[in-house]
Every structure is written in structure tokens, then in C-alpha cells.
């Protein structure tokens, strides 16, 4: 078999001026995506959320967010210490019974690592843009709020077939006997946001700033800043399900957060927010 000969010595240097910023950005993202897949296996990969929430790209992509305010939460995994104050606050705020939960913290253990052996991963409803639960519900008892994008429940319509609980790839739903309906995280819409608060119960209770809640369409918002950067890898859970989730995860260690939020007043913990 004859292989084509490529003479590298005679190739002409095209220079960097011919590379457009778009191509450069695409190349960087590709590299990060590969790194993401490599680091975490199938469940972790960078921004499969293309089309709704780009981790890079800046202003020109903002118009693609389908909601305004587009509520979202960034979870900086490294900062979570498993104090469960968020879970307690959630239960208290939303009257969650003892047999259910709207959010919880998972523990991932490592062996053979030098820096740390355990990592905590808070999980909650991902308020997916393509929410499988919303499609599965026979009576439209669960729906995407047309303004905020929050996946909410209209309890009186819930027939209790539990299809949404199985459709959810994030185990975010349970049947509440008191409500006679499936209950789930609504970003504290009913108890807090609709009453003028700007933070959810869990994000307000988090002492380390692991849970950061905000509006993805506002370039001044901390959530926007954390997601729209290339410095730190941002990922979502179960990207293969392609539900376009709105809960983003990043390691978020001190140094990178300093770099990302160098002009933000409160980078880790806002003393006024509780």
C-alpha cells in the first residue's frame, strides 16, 4: 500500500491571523469537552447544554436562553462540606415530610488520591429545558413556567400515576400524601421568590457558597459569570439524557473562583444573604 507523502518542511505557515475567534473558541471547547469526558466518565462532560447555556461564548449567545429571568443554580462541588443546612432549610421552607426530600447531598469517595478522599454532590431538580417529566405527565399537572423556566406543579391536576417520577433522570420527585400530588423543588418559587426574595432556601442557607442561585440572562449575575468562562470546567449531570438541565456543576476551588469573579464583592459567602 502506498501512503501519501506529506512534506511537512515545505508547508507554508498560515499564521494565526487567519484563525477566527469562533474557531479558536470551538477548539478550546473541544479540548475541554475531551478533558471533561476523561475526568468523569459518561456522567460528567462539559456543557452538553449547547444551544441553551454555553459555558463560553459570552454576550452573543445570551439571546438563546429561552426564559427571562432564566433561573439557574451553579454548584461549586469543592465548597460543599455536607453540613446539610440546605436540606434542613428546604424541608422547613417547603414543609417537606420526613419520607420525602426535594434536595439531598450525595457522597462520592475516592481512594488513592492525595489531596482528598471524599467529595459531596448536592442534587436537586434540574429544571431542564426539555423536561422529561413535563412530557410524561398525562394531565399537564407539571409544567415549565413560561417566564422563569421553573418546572412547577399544579397539584390539583395530579392524578398520582407517578410516571413523572420515573421519567425524571435526577430522582427529583416524590409523592406527597399531604398535597395529594407529586412534590418537587420549585426553586422556592411559592415560598420565597414569588414573595420578593432573590435566593432559594438552600442557597441562602449554604454557609460556604457551594450553591449559587441566580439569573443566567443577567451578565452581572454571579451565576452568569460562573458559567460563562473557560477557566474552570463546567458540567451537568447525565448529559447523555439531553434534557438541557439548568443546574451546573464545577469544582470551584478558591483560586479559580478568585480569577473568575475578580470584581465580585462576595465570592464565597455573602454575609447579608441569610
Amino acid at each position: 500500500m502506498k501512503l501519501p507523502k506529506i512534506n511537512f518542511d515545505n508547508l507554508k505557515n498560515e499564521g494565526t491571523s487567519s484563525v477566527t475567534p469562533q474557531e479558536r473558541r470551538k477548539f478550546l471547547k473541544l479540548g475541554l469537552a475531551i478533558a471533561g469526558v476523561y475526568a468523569g466518565g459518561k456522567i460528567l462532560s462539559l456543557t452538553s447544554i449547547v444551544g441553551t447555556a454555553h459555558a463560553s461564548g459570552g454576550g452573543s449567545i445570551v439571546k438563546k436562553y429561552p426564559y427571562n429571568p432564566h433561573y439557574s443554580m451553579v454548584i461549586r462541588q469543592t465548597l460543599c462540606i455536607d453540613c446539610e443546612k440546605c436540606v434542613d432549610k428546604c424541608n422547613e421552607t417547603n414543609n417537606v415530610p420526613d419520607y420525602g426530600y426535594r434536595t439531598r447531598i450525595l457522597t462520592k469517595k475516592y481512594s488513592g488520591t492525595l489531596d482528598k478522599q471524599v467529595e459531596f454532590i448536592p442534587v436537586l431538580c434540574n429544571h431542564c429545558n426539555d423536561a422529561p417529566c413535563v412530557r410524561a405527565c398525562p394531565t399537564r399537572a407539571t409544567y415549565k413556567d413560561p417566564i422563569t423556566g421553573i418546572v412547577r406543579m399544579e397539584s390539583k391536576k395530579c392524578i398520582g400515576c407517578k410516571t413523572c417520577m420515573l421519567a425524571c433522570p435526577y430522582d427529583a420527585r416524590y409523592f406527597s400524601a399531604a398535597r395529594r400530588a407529586v412534590d418537587k423543588c420549585d426553586f422556592c418559587w411559592e415560598e420565597r421568590l414569588s414573595k420578593g426574595e432573590t435566593q432559594t432556601g438552600c442557597s441562602s442557607a449554604c454557609p460556604t457558597g457551594a450553591r449559587t442561585f441566580g439569573n443566567l440572562t443577567d451578565p452581572e449575575n454571579i451565576v452568569y459569570k460562573l458559567v460563562h468562562q473557560l477557566e474552570e470546567k463546567v458540567w451537568v449531570l447525565r448529559p447523555a439524557d439531553d434534557t438541557k438541565p439548568n443546574i451546573f456543576y464545577m469544582k470551584g476551588n478558591m483560586r479559580s473562583v478568585d480569577n473568575i469573579l475578580n470584581e465580585q464583592k462576595h465570592k464565597y459567602f455573602d454575609p447579608n444573604k441569610v
Partner: protein
């Protein structure tokens, strides 16, 4: 009133409660026992409804569909299957299959009622369903289509049965055709209720919607053979040459469909073993918690033993067919259970590698779930045993009950009625015209 009852009994071969009263003491005891089970099931189910299902059912947040959904699926699969197999005869004109139609359609309706009575105790707010399914439909929800299509299916089957009794073959054929189309759509859609859940790799994909149709055919063939041969045990008179030919034909179709399902199962296992998302569940079938369900019930009782026995029976050893299909019904029940539960045993966070979800989830049916499932199955069995007596073994051909103006159609064996001045030939043409 009495006059019209006599008329119905003549036209429909309806023997009424008197036939039950004349049955043997053992038969009455059996019916009483089944009624007790149904009553107990209803009482226990209602108890669960009042105290709250989460206190008494074994289902959890992550395994939220349990034994009740499995039993419901068992019932509706069998119902659709009865419709499919019987339609070969009275919809598509396969002569050999015609004599089974009345019993099959009757049991198909009863299995739907059984299924509905089971799912009544699974759905938390069944009364809301009637309101909001209509007022707030979600047309992209498979669950909505399931309720709607099965509702339509039941209506068509009931109208079809009425026309079967009335000997109106053109209309029963038309209704049977609609029933079949809606039934297959409903059933395939039931597969899609699972197959569209893309967070559940064991279910996700086009496999289940297709599998459900073939699997229904197999269950239907099995159920027809079981109920016909059991009917023969109850009243040997129901067997005649035409019925024997029908049993033979259904046996052949059932053997074919078992073979099809064996291939479905093989490929489910083989493809699942090389799929990251399904591997753990498949291994729990082969060697883990579900291995007895899988090997003993699903594979041995549900497929290989009946396949062997049905081939051995040659379609005319009714005792062997009764045993084969009776055991197969049990196997099929486990087949349904093995679709519903294992699809949920791997937590959605398992692949994240977290401590909390490191193990597969477990589920054990609770007493309340078992009783509520038995309610549905008892309803079906009561309807069957009562029907065999009251409807005179669903016989089409019974000389004693051929009323005035009627005759036995040489084509289909049913009783036809001649209009005034009509010849037998004209009446036959009228009954069997194709629109």
C-alpha cells in the same frame, strides 16, 4: 321483562343465573372462594387508599411502579392478545379461528376490567383522572394516550361483543376491526410509556413498543387455549369438530409466537450485556436477584416448557394443552413483573459512583399490593367461571337453543336468523357480507 329475558336467552344462548344455581357444589365453592378473595382484595385496597398508599405499599420514591403495575400490564397484555388472536378469525376471515371468538372477546373485556380494578388502587387520585384527562390533556404524554386508547378499546370490544351475540356479523366484524386497531395502538403505546423514559436505559428505545405487540399475541394465544381447554373440563360438550380445529390452529400460532418471543428475549439479553446502562440489570437476571424469576418462571415456565408441551400435544391433547398454558400464564405474569421492576432497580445516580446509590435498589411487594392485585385477577376468574355457566360455554352451535326462525350457519357455525321470506342462503349472505 321476563319476555325479553327469554328472548335474550334464546338469541344469545344466555342461560342466566339459573345455570349457576344448577352447577355442582364444587363449582359454587370455587366461585365463592374467588368472590371472597375479590372482596378481601377490595377491602384491603380501600384500607390502603384511606391510610395512604405510602404507608402500606412496598413501592418507594425510586421504585415507584411495583406489583400493581405488573399485574395491570399482565391483564391488559392478555386482553389485547385475546383480541389479536381472535381477530384472525372474525375480522380477517380465518375460518379455523372463528369458534373461539365469543369466549376470547368476552375474556378480553373481562381482563380489561380486571386491569382497571388493579390500576384503580395504584393511581393515587383515580377520580381526578376522569376530570383532568379530559380538561387538561397532554397530547405528547404516553400515559394520556394509554388511558384514552384503552378506554376506546374497551368500548369497541363491548360493542363488538354485543354484535357477536346478536349474530350481526358485519357490524361485529367492523367493531372488531376498530377494536383491533385501537387495541394494538393502545398496547404498543403502553410499551412506549416505558420506552420513552430516556433516563431508564433498560426500558428506553423502540424495543418495548414492538415487543409488547408480539408478546400480547403470545399471551392471547396462551389465554385462549387455557380458557378453552378449562372450559372443556367444565363442560366437555363445548368441544366439537370446529372447536377442535380452532384449538389446533391457535396452538400452532401460539407455538410460533413463543418462538418469536424467545428471540426477542435472547437479543434483549445479548445486547443488554454489552450496554453500559443495562449491564447490571441483565446480570441480575442471569445470576442475581432476578435469576429465579428469569430462568425458572420466564424462560422455563413461560417459554420452553409450554413450547415443548404444545408441540407434544399436537394441538389435540387438551389435557396437555391445559397444563402447558396454565403454567405458561404463571410464567407470563413473571415476564411482566420482570419488565416493570428491574427497569427501576438501578438508581439514576448509580453511574455517578456515589456511596448512597452504590447498590441496586430492592423491592418486595407488600401484603396490600398482593391483595389489590388478587382483586383484579379474582374478578377475571369469577367472570370466567360464571360466564362459562351463564353463557353456556360461549357456544355458537347448540341445537337445543336454536330458536324459531334461526338456523345453524354452515359457514361459521353460528345461529343465524332468517327474515321473512328469506332463504337460508340469502340470510347467510346478509350475515357475511363484506362492506
Amino acid at each position: 321483562m321476563t319476555g325479553s329475558m327469554i328472548n335474550i336467552s334464546k338469541r344469545w344462548g344466555f342461560h342466566g343465573v339459573a345455570a349457576l344455581k344448577n352447577s355442582s357444589p364444587g363449582y359454587k365453592m370455587l366461585l365463592g372462594f374467588l368472590a371472597l378473595i375479590a372482596l378481601a382484595g377490595a377491602v384491603v385496597g380501600l384500607h390502603g387508599m384511606f391510610v395512604g398508599y405510602h404507608h402500606v405499599y412496598g413501592v418507594s420514591r425510586q421504585i415507584s411502579w411495583g406489583l400493581l403495575i405488573s399485574a395491570y400490564i399482565f391483564c391488559v397484555v392478555t386482553s389485547t392478545g385475546l383480541c389479536i388472536i381472535s381477530s384472525i378469525g372474525h375480522v380477517f376471515g380465518g375460518e379455523a379461528f372463528m369458534p373461539i371468538a365469543k369466549r376470547a372477546v368476552f375474556m378480553s373485556i373481562m381482563f380489561m376490567f380486571g386491569g382497571f380494578s388493579i390500576i384503580f388502587f395504584d393511581i393515587e387520585n383515580p377520580f381526578r383522572m376522569a376530570i383532568w384527562n379530559v380538561l387538561s390533556p397532554n397530547f405528547v404524554s404516553n400515559m394520556w394516550w394509554m388511558g384514552t386508547l384503552y378506554g376506546m378499546y374497551l368500548v369497541f370490544m363491548m360493542i363488538e361483543y354485543y354484535f357477536l351475540l346478536e349474530q350481526n356479523h358485519s357490524l361485529s366484524r367492523l367493531m372488531g376491526f376498530f377494536g383491533l386497531v385501537v387495541g394494538i395502538a393502545a398496547h404498543s403505546n403502553l410499551g412506549a410509556v416505558f420506552g420513552m423514559l430516556h433516563g431508564r436505559p433498560f426500558w428506553y428505545g423502540p424495543y418495548l413498543p414492538i415487543y409488547f405487540i408480539f408478546s400480547a399475541g403470545m399471551s392471547g394465544g396462551c389465554a385462549i387455549l387455557f380458557f378453552t381447554t378449562l372450559g372443556w373440563k367444565i363442560n366437555p360438550e363445548i368441544m366439537n369438530q370446529r372447536m377442535e380445529r380452532a384449538v389446533k390452529a391457535v396452538t400452532q400460532v401460539t407455538i410460533f409466537l413463543i418462538a418469536v418471543i424467545i428471540f426477542f428475549t435472547c437479543w434483549k439479553i445479548i445486547t443488554g450485556m454489552v450496554s453500559e446502562g443495562k449491564h447490571l440489570v441483565i446480570m441480575s437476571f442471569l445470576t442475581g436477584d432476578y435469576s429465579i424469576n428469569f430462568w425458572v418462571f420466564e424462560i422455563f415456565l413461560g417459554m420452553f416448557l409450554p413450547l415443548y408441551l404444545l408441540i407434544r400435544s399436537r394441538g389435540n391433547n387438551f389435557n396437555l394443552i391445559l397444563w402447558a398454558t396454565g403454567l405458561m400464564m404463571i410464567g407470563i405474569f413473571f415476564m411482566r413483573y420482570d419488565i416493570v421492576i428491574p427497569g427501576q432497580i438501578e438508581s439514576v445516580y448509580h453511574s455517578l459512583g456515589v456511596e448512597e446509590e452504590a447498590n441496586l435498589l430492592t423491592y418486595t411487594p407488600s401484603f396490600h399490593e398482593i391483595m389489590a392485585s388478587l382483586l383484579g385477577l379474582a374478578v377475571v376468574m369469577i367472570a370466567y367461571f360464571a360466564g362459562e355457566k351463564m353463557l353456556n360455554g360461549h357456544q355458537l352451535e347448540k341445537h337445543e337453543i336454536v330458536p324459531e326462525g334461526g338456523y345453524i350457519c354452515p359457514g361459521c357455525g353460528a345461529i343465524h336468523f332468517m327474515k321473512e321470506g328469506e332463504t337460508e342462503e340469502d340470510a347467510m349472505k346478509r350475515h357475511h357480507r363484506i362492506w
